[in-house]
Symmetry: D2
Subunit: 138 residues, 4 copies
């Protein structure tokens, strides 16, 4: 497996279009869907740095969410265009922190903001150090 030398891209914006199945009877996207979108944001940020998360797992590097925080500002509606900015805000020896900003594409109003902390585990579920090549060079 070939991995990039360093992670250099620190943020990415992706498009999100809420699915019908993601709405609830309140007429908006259910609040449990946002962590799923955040995860897609992290995956795409990793990919922009030349890494597929599935390849990390094949190498025995698993990232699990150890903390999640979300502030919901407005409802997100079915089939509207949203943009999600994911920023890798901090990398330590054992944790990776991201922040998220979800906006309406048309007027940039903020729909939600959030953050996650990831821990790095091995195949057996024990905590391990984040691989050297994943640390950003700033």
């Amino acid at each position: 497996m070939h991995f990039p030398e360093h992670i250099n891209i620190e943020s990415i914006i992706i498009q999100i279009k809420p699915r019908y199945a993601e709405t609830d009877q309140g007429g908006v996207v259910h609040h449990s869907v946002y962590p799923v979108w955040f995860e897609i944001g992290r995956t795409e940020l990793l990919r922009a740095n030349g890494l597929a998360y599935k390849d990390l797992e094949k190498e025995g590097v698993f990232f699990v969410v150890s903390e999640l925080h979300i502030r919901y500002r407005r409802g997100a509606y079915y089939d509207e265009e949203l943009e999600l900015e994911t920023v890798c805000s901090k990398v330590t020896i054992g944790r990776v922190e991201h922040t998220y900003s979800l906006k309406r594409s048309k007027d940039k109003t903020i729909v939600a903001e959030g953050s996650t902390v990831l821990a790095c585990l091995d195949k057996e579920g024990s905590v391990q150090r984040i691989p050297e090549f994943m640390k950003p060079q700033r």
Copy 2:
């Protein structure tokens, strides 16, 4: 691992109460949730026969859905009481068939009917015979 000698109980009724997160903006449970409920029905039917599906997986016996059919008769509503009858309708050397009937508890109107066909796989994902002890003695 101890497994029962035979599977003798062929049907079971369980209670289902739709979660808020399972509804969509149409005001009813999203149609993709029914297969999740059917799976719970199968699991509980197995448990009634003395088997936990997780123990089967530990022994290298995996059941995967190879076919799914659902007829939706009426909408299912948030927090209403439903009952799901799961019947093991056929077991062959490599397939297990179930049928499902989902009703309102209060008036027994039918909400949906369905069926699944399961195939039996080993750890590597290859088709294997259904374990002898899983075949019903009729």
Copy 3:
């Protein structure tokens, strides 16, 4: 609301990339996710014809799934590239039928095939005729 005169495009292929949250501990996408993808296929087929489903709902035209059938051929894996072909196979006075074919993008092996039947409801949930402009001119 402006609606197109007729629906002329009868099939569409969209790209699907399974999300991590869509997998289960068997290591493949959970079988209940496929109906969610099929729904996206229908939505995009409608959009290709100049219609957004959300606009139909605003006009009091609701489509609900009355029948679903899926044959699962192979597991779908996290983050692999899939393509979903959705075909509008039949439109009658009160029903719309679609068929689906889900394939691996790289080698076109079939992952799953399926079909749905939709019924057309009004705001109160009563069956209504499919709007004239939705009927294809063949």
Copy 4:
């Protein structure tokens, strides 16, 4: 609609058994499922106080999550027995706060802890005061 005079029960413990569909390929419950369980905890706490959330919605009282925080301590496994304690920790004129503690039933190890803040909306989605009868008498 008859509502109770006051809300007096401040906490409740419910049983949770993770569904197969709730797991991911990492072999544990996906982290986006926990908010769904928390919501069930809130619903059952309300019900213990004599109120069904669906009846509140019928009266034009909608509660939406404005903030969510979760600390994930250990993985939750398919079909294991968990218990979720939900505590209504604070009620102000416009917000309801809950805290959550999710434990393994067998040894009471903590799987996750969390909190939510709910805002109260009317049918049009505007912020409204929490109904008088919902305020606890302490």
